[in-house]
Symmetry: C2
Subunit: 382 residues, 2 copies
């Protein structure tokens, strides 16, 4: 892999304006990644995501492994071919979902036995099988298989969990290095070349899949430092901070992020997993985070909670029933350009699917615009 896959083009305080080159696309950082759990950002067609300026989306290995299955996705040209998305994709390792969706999981040194939330069937994820799945899905960035430590947990439990994560990171890397790039990703599903030769492989940027390591260590600054050091010792092209936003107070999240960042290499991308509100993504970019993902904009949209330049709006409220104004007068998204708050309120109250479509478009637009403004501010040195 070319060593210049990540270039920092500008610093402003601790904030970094960067350019991350992946297998399929270049990404400007700091970047927000919309969540497309089952190979779809809920209710949003891919061309609309492109129009919104999404550079990279996240998909969940756990969900795709269960349905439609890795083999199906691989046969359809990997996630990019399967969902007809030419820009970058990141898959998580499945670790977080195994822990958050499974009460009955069983963790051993070897891996995790869990039950499908769909049909109760029994499955097993190890660092090796999680890598195999992610190599098959073919995302641009894939994640080491980790244990997301529950919160709260006592120090000995956090340490044991963190050390398991480090051993799993080592195994993840080893499997990845032995097996990556054995699957080429055909691009026959791409709109540009549906008629094309099935052997017309993605050549993209010349870069290969990137495997990122994950720092754990719970809410203990010392353990976070140890975890960072262990993970860096193994060596990855990028580092994620995992195990946050799991119920702890927001101020604590920020403290842990800030202290963990001190131990992460400055020349590698840093990904804060599962965060956050619009204010938080700005704040974390300021602290030097390069990548973030969160279900908040999409999930909140489906509950009628909308982020605007004037604050948060619950569109279901009766006060908007005859409000002729746009949702956010400063927003240029399709929802704000065309529809009134009154109409959006009606769609929500009448349980019309279009409510979810338009609300999601707006919230994603707000998040992606926010990050665009952050990048602009860094470029100006602000």
């Amino acid at each position: 892999m070319p060593s210049d896959f990540f270039r920092i083009e500008k610093l402003s305080g601790k904030a970094r304006l960067g350019r991350l080159s992946t297998l399929h696309a270049e990404i400007e950082t700091p970047v927000f990644m919309p969540v497309g759990t089952a190979a779809s950002v809920k209710s949003i067609p891919q061309d609309t995501l492109e129009e919104l300026g999404a550079q990279i989306i996240l998909a969940n290995t756990y969900h795709l492994y269960l349905r439609p299955g890795v083999e199906t996705v691989r046969n359809m040209g990997g996630l990019h071919g399967f969902m007809a998305w030419p820009r970058a994709i990141l898959t998580d390792s499945g670790g977080f979902q195994v822990f958050s969706l499974n009460e009955l999981r069983k963790v051993t040194e070897e891996g995790v036995t869990f039950r499908s939330h769909l049909d109760g069937s029994s499955h097993f994820f190890s660092p090796e099988s999680a890598m195999e799945a992610q190599i098959g899905l073919g995302a641009d960035i894939i994640m080491a298989f980790d244990e997301c430590t529950e919160y709260p947990a006592d120090k000995s439990r956090v340490r044991a969990s963190m050390e398991l994560t480090a051993r799993w990171a080592e195994r993840s890397k080893q499997y990845f290095e032995e097996h990556a790039n054995q699957y080429q990703v055909p691009s026959t599903q791409y709109p540009e070349n549906r008629e094309g030769n099935p052997n017309n492989w993605v050549r993209g940027t010349g870069y290969s899949q990137l495997l990122f390591g994950i720092v754990q260590g719970g809410m203990d600054r010392g353990l976070r430092k140890e975890s960072a050091e262990q993970t860096i010792e193994i060596g990855f092209p990028g580092y994620a901070i995992g195990g946050l936003s799991v119920g702890e107070p927001r101020e604590l999240t920020r403290e842990i992020v800030e202290s963990t960042l001190e131990y992460l290499p400055r020349d590698k991308p840093r990904y804060l997993m599962g965060v956050g509100t619009p204010e938080e993504i700005v704040e974390y970019a300021r602290l030097g985070i390069d990548m973030m993902d969160c279900v908040l904009p999409t999930r909140a949209a489906r509950h009628g909670l909308l982020f605007t330049s004037e604050g948060k709006i619950s569109i279901k409220q009766a006060r908007y029933a005859q409000d002729p104004g746009p949702l956010d007068p400063k927003c240029g998204c399709r929802a704000c350009r065309r529809y009134s708050r009154a109409y959006l309120r009606h769609l929500y109250a009448a349980n019309e699917m279009l409510a979810q479509v338009l609300n999601t478009i707006h919230n994603l637009s707000f998040y992606l615009d926010t990050m665009r403004r952050v990048r602009h501010a860094i470029s100006l040195g602000e």
Copy 2:
């Protein structure tokens, strides 16, 4: 109203190529009208409807009267302003929903008492109140309040129902003539002039709302003839054939349509309500029908039933799980241009909202393209 609001530009057999001028827009006929019950064609943004070439959509008075209420819609600039739709709209009278959604309705000479399917509250529709509601909603074409006769029904029952419909048509017309055009429709919600003066009324085409009469008479050709004559005697700018597609055999529907058409004036638009399959809309256009609406393309889409140039497809079937081809190779819609059957099948199986969005786009595209081809064929005299 200018007398040339409907012009027949070409005949081919009994089929007619026409141009219908309404308050907001001109419509090429024969036309298929997508159904947008609660002021939204389910899951589809208005700009996508425009892109699909929808010239006129149908909304349901019954649903809008209950939620958000006629006053709200009127205050937001009528349906056009409320839903930000600049092209034509037709509202039904509420009669059909009162009959199909209400087991406990009570019909008197005066009107119908019914219970809301939303909260069980009691309401009353008369020809006068149905007109008042439709004038307030401000659609381009509105419908007389009728009784949709149940099927099967004996001849005396059908006759009584048909005569009630005729008396109600008379009252509908009288109320409409006394009250129409008293509400101007502000266009402040339109995207072009959101910033505009609230007194910037729609001037549109210079035409006013059009009230169409409805022919009933069950499955009896003689009664259909009588009903047509009674309705024409009252006099409307257009005539609908109602009370079909209510459970009778398809062949009977066709017979009744064909015989009823003989009694309808050739120089007025003819609207067949609630019909039909792609084959049927072609067939009815051939018989001389100018307008049709049906929930079939949108409702079937939500159940994964897709109309294609190669026949009907149930996308949920496992046989499509790894099918890399487009849904319909002859279709140029957004769904067929970009996605594979495998992906559409996955979205449906995973209960992803995008399934409904893409399936609906395709089915509407198929219907609207079908009607476009019908118009083209008539213009060529085929």
